[in-house]
Subunit: 208 residues, 2 copies
Amino acid sequence: MTDSAPATTRRRENTRVRLMDAAAEMFAEVGIDGASVEAICERAGFTRGAFYSNFGSKEELFLALCARSAETTIAAVRARVTSIESRGLEDAGDVLQLVQEVLEATGEDRLDVLLGAETRLQALRNPGFAEAYLALNQGMGESVTQLVRDIAAARGLSLRVPADVATDLLLSVWISTSETALLTRQAPSESRSGLADRLSQVVGLILE
Amino acid sequence: MTDSAPATTRRRENTRVRLMDAAAEMFAEVGIDGASVEAICERAGFTRGAFYSNFGSKEELFLALCARSAETTIAAVRARVTSIESRGLEDAGDVLQLVQEVLEATGEDRLDVLLGAETRLQALRNPGFAEAYLALNQGMGESVTQLVRDIAAARGLSLRVPADVATDLLLSVWISTSETALLTRQAPSESRSGLADRLSQVVGLILE
DNA sequence: CGTATCGGATACAACAATGTATCCTAGACC
DNA sequence: GGTCTAGGATACATTGTTGTATCCGATACG
């Protein structure tokens, strides 16, 4: 009895997922307001009947989307963190590579960046939503901060700022660099190396 | 003959300004898509007749708004830069204070932060607009970068990263800290000191 | 097999927003 | 002061979007 829901819910769950995926793309491309319920359904291959059978409104779907995204992102970050720690912190490779490895879990491609920006903006406008948004970010930030501390301790590196400040810095640079890469429409490979460069500079500033 | 436009244009210019001001507020609060032309006009004290007499569409108004905002922001930054430089770079006060003084010209209050986020998101989505957005930011960034170089040279400070990277870092931290302050709904005074703290830490990292 | 139910499609009514075409009025100019 | 024009208001037609109420088909179950 691991699954208390009836079997019929299976199909339903599938359409929920497809609707949410479609919505994520639309929200990223044209924003929440720019995406009509109709357009979302069309992209998902459904009609609005399916939509209103599964969600009360577009906002409700957006919240569900955020919750899902939060879960997967946090899970991804934690997975990478433990993966790194399991390798043994003393000799797990280049510090910069480790940093990058973790940050990549926070979303790397065009849609992630766009959706992230849209979500942040929504949080800036909506006080209630801001709380949830902050909670997510804190949860993630704490994981990373702990990792930073662990790595520094394991290698005898001394940070020039507190670990949580370092994390904030890294995340903020990560985001702004990702966005700039998108703005300048660099080829993905270029944008990658640009990110790496910038991150290595920041890591250099923080350590030493 | 400094003004080639007829006198009647005066009233017109006034309503343009009022419409743009109203639109700026609306865009900040509910986003471009969320702001109906009707709502903008109502806030400005006009009807849509006035709107369509002055602008072809909401997007056109948005572009005009960006142009205006770009002008004033750049002007403000340049003004502060020259003001600082006229004081004599050797003893113009605390470095951190100088940094803050310049960055404050880029917008400090709630509406500026929101409008900035909205504009950036728009640039991320619209390739054409992205170009214009980047041009603005570069223009501003270059002013700041030059100032950073000058200050460093005048005081014999050595930067641990290139001046343009330092500028990017400062701007990115400035923005992300401003947004976080808004998210956590700190009192303005608190948010101020938080910004100062964060900036001083970054300045500390960059110098020394 | 037959049937009941769940899940999604269809059809419809209400509303909000847009853009335009026309009208009215305040102010410039003679 | 009379007239003409620019600037903005009003009215209207059109369209897009939303939410709901109803219908139909597939799937589980007896």
